[in-house]
Symmetry: C2
Amino acid sequence: MDVKVIELKESILEDNNADADKLREELKNKKLFCINVMSSPGSGKTTTILRTIDALKDEFKFGVMEADIDAAVDAETVLNAGIPAVQLHTGGMCHLDAQMTRQGLAEMKEDFDCIILENVGNLVCPAEFDTGCTKNVVIYSIPEGDDKPLKYPLMFEKADVVLINKIDAWPVFDFNLDEAKKHLYLRNPDVAVFPISSKTGEGYEDWINYLRDMINADIRG
Amino acid sequence: MDVKVIELKESILEDNNADADKLREELKNKKLFCINVMSSPGSGKTTTILRTIDALKDEFKFGVMEADIDAAVDAETVLNAGIPAVQLHTGGMCHLDAQMTRQGLAEMKEDFDCIILENVGNLVCPAEFDTGCTKNVVIYSIPEGDDKPLKYPLMFEKADVVLINKIDAWPVFDFNLDEAKKHLYLRNPDVAVFPISSKTGEGYEDWINYLRDMINADIRG
């Protein structure tokens, strides 16, 4: 399938935070809910996005923006699942800011209820730049270990939701969920945490109910 | 155990590449082999470093520098295994450069043969900054998927060695080793690739023999 690849231009705005707040306001006025998905490389962002959309596709119209330094494999995967998607290339940059997010949104022409932005796989830099999206979802997988919130504090402070993915692989890894949650709440007492498997669907019911309520409160509230 | 934590200062050098070449030359003259270990968060850097040192501890004197944005859990783990270690804090920065590596090396007072630098867990930024270490080892784990060399090209171009870790978890993940190698050699035809499990020790014999030869060629050659 032919993927539309957008080469993002580096931003010139000095005040990204102000621009991000402005974008969030514009999205709210347009009744468009935008989710910024962040994680390490290989935590299961694309698989999680696909299963999440599948669960809610009869209730909301979804689109996906895949950001990567190179390649278009993720946008291809999403398009092949029948979901509108574009591939954003960051020109080597390790994150997206609000102006780059705007460049992607300009390519999403349909009347969407929810756009999911898959940020560059990186637990450091994307947390430092507000994309202007409505909410931040951080995916963090069992094989990565329960100490990650200690080492990448800002990422977990910026999260509205943390999905602990790959719980199907739990039997082969030493991962203490209570420790992981303790570390998470230390960084961010208000974060919503859902252990899930995007491979088997385990734990999805609670996450999907939470997401549905969050979208409805924003675009229909 | 009491961990020495060093708060790194941001560099002011304009030409990091020249400084890194100079540091590499100084290390060579001192017969000190320095390995820069890079990977995603949670790929098993610390476990791999411990098992690698254990296999070669009777032949070389090892020390470890653990770099993180926050926390000291990795340096604690290494110290508890009886290996000299310091914790470097990057002050929020997503990478180390040669000047930051020098600040760490200044704290390693013993007469080491080999210092292992565990870089910040990140497949993007650390590849952009030459640390001045003798060799770059990239760890890349089975749960991350076989497409990572396509998405993070510079990291795999800069690697002298790629360790494909967590092969013990292979049965529960879809990972095609031939595809991963094809993507790797596309980026970097000269890279040495070793599939390993740092949990069980599988695949270590080849990796350890390769590393032994590399260190000996450098410090005794």
